[in-house]
Symmetry: C2
Subunit: 585 residues, 2 copies
Amino acid sequence: LDYQHVQVPFEITLWIMLASLAKIGFHLYNKLPSVVPESCLLIFVGLIMGGIIYGLNDRSPPVMDSDIFFLYLLPPIVLDAGYFMPSRPFFENIGTILLYAVVGTIWNVFGIGFSLYGICQVKAFRLQDVSLLHNLLFGSLIAAVDPVAVLAVFEEIHVNEKLHILVFGESLLNDAVTVVLYKLFRSFCEMPTIKSVDVFAGVGKFFVVGLGGVLVGLSFGFTAAFTTRFTKDIRVIEPLFVFLYSYLSYLTAEMFHLSGIVAIISCAMGMKRYVEANISLKSHTTVKYFMKMWSSVSDTLIFIFLGVSTIGENHEWNWPYICFTVIFCLIWRALGVLVLTFFVNRFHVNTITSKDQFIIAYGGLRGAICFSLVFLLPDFRRKKLFIAATTVVILFTVFIQGMTIRPLVDLLAVKRKRESAPTVGEQIHIRFLDHLLAGIEDISGHWGQYYWKDKLEYFNSKYLQKILLREYDQPKSSIVLLYEKLERKHAIELAQAGQLGHGPAHPSFLCSAFLCSSSDRTVITDQKLEDTPNPDVLDNMQEILARNLYRIRRTGPAYNRHTLPGDSEPTEQAKEILILRHKSL
Amino acid sequence: LDYQHVQVPFEITLWIMLASLAKIGFHLYNKLPSVVPESCLLIFVGLIMGGIIYGLNDRSPPVMDSDIFFLYLLPPIVLDAGYFMPSRPFFENIGTILLYAVVGTIWNVFGIGFSLYGICQVKAFRLQDVSLLHNLLFGSLIAAVDPVAVLAVFEEIHVNEKLHILVFGESLLNDAVTVVLYKLFRSFCEMPTIKSVDVFAGVGKFFVVGLGGVLVGLSFGFTAAFTTRFTKDIRVIEPLFVFLYSYLSYLTAEMFHLSGIVAIISCAMGMKRYVEANISLKSHTTVKYFMKMWSSVSDTLIFIFLGVSTIGENHEWNWPYICFTVIFCLIWRALGVLVLTFFVNRFHVNTITSKDQFIIAYGGLRGAICFSLVFLLPDFRRKKLFIAATTVVILFTVFIQGMTIRPLVDLLAVKRKRESAPTVGEQIHIRFLDHLLAGIEDISGHWGQYYWKDKLEYFNSKYLQKILLREYDQPKSSIVLLYEKLERKHAIELAQAGQLGHGPAHPSFLCSAFLCSSSDRTVITDQKLEDTPNPDVLDNMQEILARNLYRIRRTGPAYNRHTLPGDSEPTEQAKEILILRHKSL
């Protein structure tokens, strides 16, 4: 037995396997996930596993490594979130989202930090050694809403799109603020004196970190789109580029201390439309499927590890500090949302209702990012207290808030997400209104969102598409693309229902399948019986035979390692059928 | 700049990116890959990169780590090979393949080992310090044909299926022999005296290693199939199980010193038919695509690393030893193939022609497995000589043999692979003959391959399918499955060619698309004009409207994180359409 040799991959595979099996287990028993969010169940599994490890080994189970979390577990989830981000509601609410993410997070950091410092001044609590800077540092890591936890809960409760994007967008974009403030306070903690220059540098750094992340992401995204222009002969590795470039954007951003989350999201959103147009349908299915799979596994692993890491002896318990942390987290978030929304509502026609505000405040879940950041703190006396407080806040938000948010949404009758996708008619109207509003804004000289959107679209079709798309000659309008997609779907449905008529096989079945009325059918059959040697009918039969012979002649391409069976061939064949048809007509 | 932090994932991603871009590069310039095999080009790229690294750093570039090769790069390729293995030719020729793999490899090991020992006895060559055991050890690592190199070359030359499976099957199954002999001789080298017991133990070990691998693989394969029975509600993680279980089978086999390659191949072949039936169509596309992608990247990386590792100062040059190694490798393989084929041909009606024998002997390419094994040798004086000899043999076989085998195949007019897949008619006939022969064998009491195949099929349908398949009630015959697949393909083609008629839209287009003869069409139109208020026609229109309204009513399911849009819905919808149709009829 040579376990040492295979230990690393073996254990990784086993953890992933455990996560996947846990997921299957929950879904087997249908009622459970509808009451308790999956994230809670997974943390619970983690707690049990941690308990078992603790019981068997008699020492604390291994803690989730912050490096593993930030380098391997977080990127797939954020990539998935960015790639499937509904871009329209996101950009429509980008101002509000940024306000919540930037001002709201800063508000929370300082609010929590200063009020906890106030608590530390009470002598009875024996916390006088926790300085203001340490409290602010703790505030900077505990204030940020966690995208992983938010996703896990909000995707199960189906609130309306705007509410979802406000909470989720905030949780993603506050990464830039968190990174800056966390690093700023951490370096302040190690400095002997703090000059005012450093504070201003910190403010400037925020723009560098955020905008730098966007720039890094977009440049990798466009490079990815450009690369997929040249993959026509080697379809099999197309999906790889989507993953490689997004991951590189994340790593590069992290390397330069920029916001990796912002980078990978810009990368995914920037490349999506071009990559989708360049790669084959099967590659695209693979990309989507693998992204979902990967993020789902990462997310499962994160919650299990979170549970496992909770067990152990790295906590220092101090009732007042921990309780007040939870209370301040709730209060400052609620206040922040109220104040910010007041300003937002003054400038918007489409206001955020008070129910929505409550859900935004209540949906501020904390998760694995706080947890990883608290372990990354430099060692000092009260680190274990911070770890304990963070763990309690995470468990409180995920369990108490996560489990009660669904009943609350039901109780308040918060506007839900519409169940069906918009119809083609609606989409056409939306687009029509967009053009109309862009025109009105242009005439009135108001540079609003429609004006900029129109300009961006112009720039895109004039320059970007020419560089990034393979087949630029006549870009298909999205209506045509949608039509093609629906046709394809419809065709598959027909084939699965056995309704796709192969002309020659059963003329009567064919007619019934393709909706010739029954009376017409009788006429056809009658006429066929009457004049069988009709030259038209004979021609037609010849055509049928020719086409079917064609189909038999080319049932499959030769096997080749770098292509999948039936990779590029269908379109070609369909084209040739079209040519044959034109000839015969 | 914090490069240290992201170094490991960053460099891995960059290497994979380089490999992928190199692949795109070759395919952009179309003429190159048709003359030079891709493997040669990649080694060449590696040589250049190694030269650059050597020139810049002034020390040997890093050598491909044997652990990385065996744990991470080899499994994807073997998994791909096993999963897409054409099972019929493989099992039809399993006897011949095993003979080549086991007896042939042993023959080569001892042939090369003893004759090189003979060369070492010549005083002029100054090689007297290389013992017989060291020569046999070297023989055991240099004798084995490499599956990666064979795949890379043979997939481009398209020889007939039997020839391909003989060479490729041998290269896969000889792993068990290589593992046993290599470890045996290595432990002998470290023992002071060798008892005859040890030799017999080695022979016994061969069966343990080979059959153990098969057992480990099959048990993981069946577990994988069993697991996918329960993934109906969580389709997104289905592909994961295919990869996880196969990888676990490989690691487990390696852990117990069994043949990992044999294990992963049995796992893939064992699970394939059940997994395919259990998982959704999209999951299956993803599995296939990702397997191809992964193996393609692994294979590229292996050849590039092979090139990079060649450059450097870890070689000891000895002309006679190296030249004689190449010559003996060629001679002993040719002799082995001739002798073994002589016996094979005596027992088979379908003989292996002399042209095929030549290609089998000439196709014995060596590759990265030898290379990794030689670096795993314990340190002794002549290790660098062995490394040099191995490198030369690999470069010789990949470059000289790999580049000349295509012209030789053309010159000898070796029977090629048929370009098209077998037609349905052929498949039915083949199956019919199988049953017939099984019956004849049963009556005559001869336990041949058809008898066993029939028994296995019986066992499979009676027990295995009931345990491993989700929907067992009425297993679809493969003819029905093929029909469904063709229907689906046809439907997509029709949709892409715009020939799929939506009944109500254009009655005339509909008819022309679905081959109603032109004369019939006129009659329909005439009749419609004549009696518009015909109740039948009205009924029919109602039906059309009802069905189309149905389609509009349900354009898309609500977004959910764990499902992909349109995941399970089409079949359901198609079913409902069917019910509606039955009602209306």
